[in-house]
């Protein structure tokens, strides 16, 4: 079999049509498809390698079915994940409420899974500020509280998409390193995260 070896499982979570599939599609194929009939694009599983320092990290990205029908089964998908990108739509406040559900689930069942909050469709908010339904500071407070990283992305313009996945890859690579040094009894201390939405937020 020639399937690539996966270093880390990354799972996409979030309410239906917040833009999970579009995000993966933008990251992997550098494209964005618009139109009502094209909301389902890309493959369900993709493997993608990123360079981190002198290492290559291969992530297996698991897209999930957004329909509430399958919510009861969502635990099966994030088992063993190193990272979860929990998405919400910046123009839809109800989608942020759903975020809290997944975060709680992840904290309860998957303590080793790092959480990334991702506000999507940033381009809509940029174009028309009144569209924003999720307050930036509320989200940031929540992110701080759960010690998660926060990104605001647009799959349409590509803003912050690569940065998000690059950060995930770096963390994966660092945790692997940490595990090894932990075993050897060396504590490198917690690296403070320096990442924030540099191109979209001011």
């Amino acid at each position: 079999m020639t399937a690539p070896r996966i270093d880390a499982k990354v799972v996409m979570l979030g309410k239906e049509s917040v833009g999970k599939t579009s995000l993966v599609e933008r990251f992997v194929h550098h494209r964005f498809l618009v139109g009502p009939y094209q909301n389902t694009i890309g493959a369900a599983f993709v493997a993608r390698s990123l360079q981190v320092g002198d290492k290559v990290v291969t992530m297996g990205i698991w897209d999930t079915a957004g329909s509430e029908r399958y919510e009861a089964m969502s635990r099966m998908y994030y088992r063993g994940a190193k990272a979860a990108i929990v998405c919400f739509d910046l123009t839809d406040s109800s989608s942020f409420l759903r975020v809290k559900f997944w975060v709680k689930e992840l904290q309860n069942c998957e303590e080793h899974c790092k959480i990334y909050l991702c506000g999507t469709k940033n381009d809509l908010v940029e174009a028309d500020r009144s569209q924003r339904q999720v307050d930036f500071h509320d989200v940031q407070d929540f992110a701080d509280e759960i010690k998660a990283q926060l990104f605001e992305t647009s799959s349409k313009t590509g803003c912050n998409v690569d940065k998000l996945f690059q950060k995930v890859a770096e963390d994966v690579s660092n945790t692997d390193f940490q595990l090894i040094t932990e075993e050897a009894g060396v504590d490198l201390g917690q690296k403070k995260n320096a990442y924030f939405y540099s191109c979209c937020h001011h």
Partner: protein, 494 residues
């Protein structure tokens, strides 16, 4: 003379119905002409013999392998693997183990049920046993061939695997979870050591681990697939019944984006169904996984052709559910449990195969829990469909004219007729085969009789008589006088 009894082997007479062992009971074709008691004894012996043969082969392979190593030994001094710690010792530090086994990911609450009474007649027929023993031999040979390329560490790996299998043979009484833990510990132990040996080249480690899994699981399969200590079998039956009870679920209810009217699509659907059914016939966990992956790829094709664009997770899961409902794959729960317990976790948890496997688990969970709401039906409708009082298809406005001799028939009906035609054809062919067999049998009987007759005639015509030996070898030769005179030795001077 044994002629008489040999003849009986072909000719069917009353005595043929009795047990071949001559114990006085009736025999049965299914038990190769023996009565059940004699067959069981016979089978036991065959099994014993097979086990001995297995060991002999393993020993032979080991010797071959040792010889092969001896021949390369001098030239290279490869660093060898440090011997593996005994598996018992390993179990004591289990709690400190960092890597969680995959089983824990998929079945957090699978506890072993109390031991069931062993049922008789579960034993496979000797011919099946032989078949699988041929496969086992082939896998063993492939394994040794593969390990030969690794030189000295290869030998160590082989030794460890054999010791492990031997060890497992004494652990038949363990529950499924413990068996799984043993195997997972072994994988972990082996890959840790390989990791050190290959200096962190995960690719090479994985290549070896794939072969290790294939070798040990082919040998352990019979004892650890759907073990009697679990209720896997009961769950299999429950799922099978459940799926049968849900026969009325339509593509529309599940929102499956697949149009089976398109021949290419229905072709992919059929292939997907075949793949998921085929999973049961594989013995190596990774081979079973590969069936699920193949099934998934066919599903993606079916969706892609229907929608004219690539499928996403939102399309895939409902379609997989639909395929599972249509296929009703044999021993579905047993297979899922087996993969979960005995697959090498590095593949299962993160890779592409793992993604499809998780979706399959999810599909099965969905089918188990499925209710009116999950299909957007009213509770009453759901009940009526489940109890068989009504069928959703009947309420659809499309009614196909019945008398129209095929022209306006529903696709389902057309298929039924096609299948009936096929069956009729098959029936006729079987009759012909039987007829052929009967005539072959009578031909054989008459042929034997005619040969016997001829032999008898010849024996009568030329009664055996012992003659005194002739003076010269060629004294009987009728045409002696036509031969040239024998050569005389000539003497050459000088």
């Amino acid at each position: 003379m044994s002629q008489k009894s040999e003849r009986r082997g072909i000719h069917v007479d009353q005595s043929e119905l009795l047990c071949k062992k001559g114990c006085g009971y009736y025999g049965n074709a299914a038990w190769q002409g023996l009565c059940s008691k004699c067959w069981r004894e016979e089978y036991q012996r065959a099994r014993q013999k097979q086990i001995q043969e297995d060991w002999a082969l393993a020993e032979k392979l080991q010797r071959e392998e040792e010889a092969a190593y001896a021949s390369i030994q001098g030239a290279q001094s490869q660093p060898s693997l440090t011997p593996f710690s005994k598996f018992e010792e390993k179990k004591t530090n289990e709690k400190t183990r960092k890597v969680t086994t995959v089983k824990k990911f998929f079945s957090p609450s699978s506890r072993t049920a109390p031991k069931k009474e062993s049922h008789e007649g579960k034993a496979p027929s000797p011919s099946i046993t032989r078949q699988s023993s041929i496969e086992t031999d082939r896998v063993s040979r492939d394994f040794v061939d593969f390990l030969k390329n690794l030189q000295k560490p290869g030998r160590e790996i082989h030794k460890q695997c054999r010791a492990f299998i031997e060890n497992m043979a004494n652990k038949k009484d363990l529950g499924a979870d413990e068996l799984s833990e043993c195997v997972q510990d072994f994988y972990q132990n082996m890959s840790d050591r390989l990791m050190t040996h290959f200096k962190g080249s995960t690719e090479r480690v994985e290549r070896v681990m794939d072969q290790v899994e294939k070798y040990i699981m082919t040998r352990l399969y019979k004892n650890v697939f759907c073990p009697e200590t679990t209720d896997d079998e009961k769950k299999d039956l429950a799922t099978q019944h459940r799926i049968r009870a849900l026969h009325w679920v339509t593509i529309q209810m599940l929102c499956v984006p697949v149009d089976e009217e398109i021949p290419e699509v229905s072709d992919n659907v059929v292939k997907a169904i075949t793949d998921v059914i085929e999973m049961d016939s594989k013995r190596v966990p990774r081979d079973k996984l590969a069936c699920i992956t193949r099934c998934s790829k066919h599903i993606f094709n079916a969706i892609k052709i229907t929608k004219n664009e690539p499928a996403s997770a939102d399309d895939f899961l409902p379609t997989l559910i639909y395929i599972v409902l249509k296929a009703n794959p044999p021993r579905l729960q047993s297979n899922i449990q087996y993969i979960t317990r005995f697959c090498n976790p590095s593949r299962l948890m993160t890779g592409e195969d793992g993604y499809y496997f998780t979706n399959l688990c999810c599909a099965v969970a969905f089918i188990e829990k499925l209710d009116a709401q999950s299909l957007n039906l009213s509770a009453e409708d759901f009940e009526r469909y489940m109890s068989g009082q009504a069928s959703p298809r009947k309420q659809e406005p499309e009614v196909w004219p019945q008398e129209d001799a095929g022209a306006g028939r529903s696709p389902g009906l057309t298929q039924v007729y096609q299948s009936l035609d096929l069956l009729t054809g098959l029936g006729a062919r079987q009759d012909r085969v039987l007829e052929g067999a009967r005539s072959l049998e009578s031909d054989l009987i008459s042929w034997q009789e005619s040969v016997e007759r001829e032999v008898q005639e010849i024996l009568e015509k030329y009664p055996l008589e012992i003659r005194t030996p002739a003076s010269a070898i060629d004294s009987d030769n009728v045409e002696n006088d036509r031969l040239p005179p024998p050569l005389q030795p000539q003497v050459f001077a000088g």
